[in-house]
Amino acid sequence: MSQVPQADVLHEVAEPAPETPTGKRRASWRSLNFGPRMWVSVTIIGLIVLFALLGPLFYPYGSGLKVGSLYDEPSAAHLLGTDNFGHDIIAVLMQSTRNSLLNGLLAGTLAVVLGVVIGILAGYTGGWLEELLMGFTNIVVAIPSIIVLILMSMSLQHTNIGFLKGIAGLALVIGITSWPWTARAVRAQASSVATREHIDIAKLSGARTPSILIRDVLPYLASYVVMAWVLQLASAILAESTLSMLGLGPSGTDSLGMELHWALAFQSVSTGAWWAFLPPTIVLTLISFSLLYLQSSLDEVFNPRLRRGKKKNLAKAAERRAEMARQLAEQNEKVEVLS
């Protein structure tokens, strides 16, 4: 058992660690900063999610219930009238929103997971693996995604595997074609993180590559991954809507895109039945807008240096400083008088 030798070379006084006012490096993910933009977008998304998930529990009409005929106008009982099937539009809207959001979540998450895994491996390892993965990524990007989606959707419609027929199948297709964007972004970041000194220290400590990737690379990519995820959600929802609108979506299911598809197929625009095409359009717009707005606000969340502080606190602080200035001015005058 070795002795603990006296460190008489250094006589450290136990001082509390100084906190430099400039705080150039503010670490720790606990210092997240939630600004107003974030709250606005989160609120909108939250409301839409509640609408989609809880709505059907409280709304009297089901989405499959025939309560009227083709494009009944809005009435007291059915605030947005009926669609081409005679179903209550609000009920259908709830169901569609739920399915579209679900699709977005599945597809977006799948895309992000694929993108992050491929991006991290490529960026961190470099060399031939990076060339291979990025080459593959470029191929996937080069093929016009809409064509791939169309082809895959068409073949899915003929599949025998049950769960692939509905939203899940479409989400799968969108997920495996939209990851390249995230992969590239993550690769660039991972490549940069791989050159940092804490990685060298981890290697010198004997850490293996998987541990380094998870512990030393991934947390540094966290903000990118979250932002990429939000963007993938938005783009997945829009992709599904596009496909469904073109008639390539799961025809048995309700989704925002399918609503638009039916709205076009049954000529609601020319007959003036705005309640058929406007509501899904508005909901889609709100979803995309709030997701993109959220993504833009995340920059502030992850970067505490951008924060300014709440307005009322700023005013109080300014008052305090003015008072301090007055006191100092008095003191200095007295000193001048004395000298």
Binding site: E12, E15, P16, P18, P21, T22, S31, R321, M324, A329
Partner: protein
């Protein structure tokens, strides 16, 4: 030039104001270079920003005024319009050469574009030709190659970049140049060239005074006429450079001098002890003299009363030990191995 009673605070996240500079007064005599020395966190960069009138939130200059020639300028940034009040002075009366400026040049700009940008920021009517002329003349004066103007930043060596940004920050002939750590990232040979250029510029009266901020005492001993040592937001000693280096009167100054390692026979045999402890939390500084917890010469009164400035000719020192031992140089804490 005299900058008086400057107090500047940082608005910390906790809502508290941390005073980074506490009632500091500096003087730069005409045609001289004043060195501002101190270790990390002492407030010297903050002081430089305050004097250069570029303090922006979360940094607030609470009080402070500057006297140049006949003008008195209020440095406090509390006035609603302080940005506009200070604008005509920035760059023309007082110019700041920030730390790391040489690495902050946009990689897509040629140096001559940068010159034009800087001049146009002050006077919108300046044409590219005028800016070029001015720059070429200045480079000729300082015996620097004019081909630099056509280069991109990445094509220049570190030393050349630093000299260029120094030239650019003085194109408008500011009365006072504040250079913040201009030599820190340079090799010794580039350091020497920069220092020689600064001395040349002062001689040519391009600037009438320089405040040279750094932690590197040997560099300061080469270039400065006067030296001010800063600790925890306050000036602890202030005087002619030779006086400070040969006969330091404040224990902190002495400790800093002892920690200088130059390639001499003495360095081979000496054993230096660093300063125990670490710089204080400026939000809650020690009572009395801020250096007392780490001072080898601390006396009982050091922890209760803040020492006032002791004037000894044109040498000032804020220390109770110095008061008790007038005229005595602080003995160095060094042992021979």
């Amino acid at each position: 030039m005299r900058a008086s009673n400057i107090t500047a605070v940082y608005a910390a996240d906790s809502g508290q104001d941390v005073p980074a500079v506490d009632n500091v007064t500096l003087e730069v005599p005409e045609g001289q270079i004043l060195g501002l020395a101190g270790e990390s966190g002492c407030g010297k960069t903050t002081l430089g920003n305050a004097v250069a009138m570029i303090a922006t939130p979360p940094l607030y200059v609470v009080t402070g005024s500057m006297q140049i020639d006949d003008q008195t300028i209020d440095l406090a940034t509390l006035a609603k319009d302080s940005n506009n009040i200070h604008r005509p002075y920035r760059g023309a009366t007082v110019s700041l050469l920030p730390q790391g400026a040489m690495n902050a040049i946009s990689p897509t700009l040629r140096i001559r574009d940068l010159v034009h940008d800087v001049m146009a920021a002050h006077d919108k009517g300046v044409t590219k030709a005028e800016a070029m002329d001015r720059a070429t003349d200045r480079l000729k004066m300082l015996s620097m190659p004019s081909r630099v103007l056509d280069s991109y930043a990445h094509q220049l060596s570190g030393g050349m970049k630093q000299r260029m940004v120094t030239v650019i920050s003085t194109l408008l002939d500011p009365k006072l140049l504040i250079a913040d750590e201009p030599t820190s990232a340079l090799d010794v040979s580039s350091q020497k060239e920069l220092i020689e250029m600064l001395l040349q510029m002062i001689e040519m009266k391009i600037m009438r005074g320089v405040i040279f901020i750094t932690h590197d005492l040997p560099v300061l001993s080469m270039v400065t006429d006067r030296l001010a040592i800063m600790y925890a937001g306050k000036i602890v000693e202030n005087g002619r450079t030779e006086d400070l280096v040969h006969s330091a009167r404040h224990p902190y100054t002495s400790a800093l001098l002892a920690a200088v390692l130059d390639p001499t026979k003495e360095t081979r045999t000496k054993h230096v002890l660093g300063i125990p402890g670490s710089p204080p939390n400026l939000g809650n500084p020690p009572s009395g003299c801020r250096f007392h917890p780490r001072c080898a010469f601390a006396m009982p009164e050091c922890s209760t009363k803040e020492p006032p400035f002791l004037l000894e000719g044109n040498h000032q020192v804020a220390c109770w030990w110095a008061e008790k031992n007038p005229g005595v140089t602080v003995p160095m804490e060094v042992s021979v191995v």
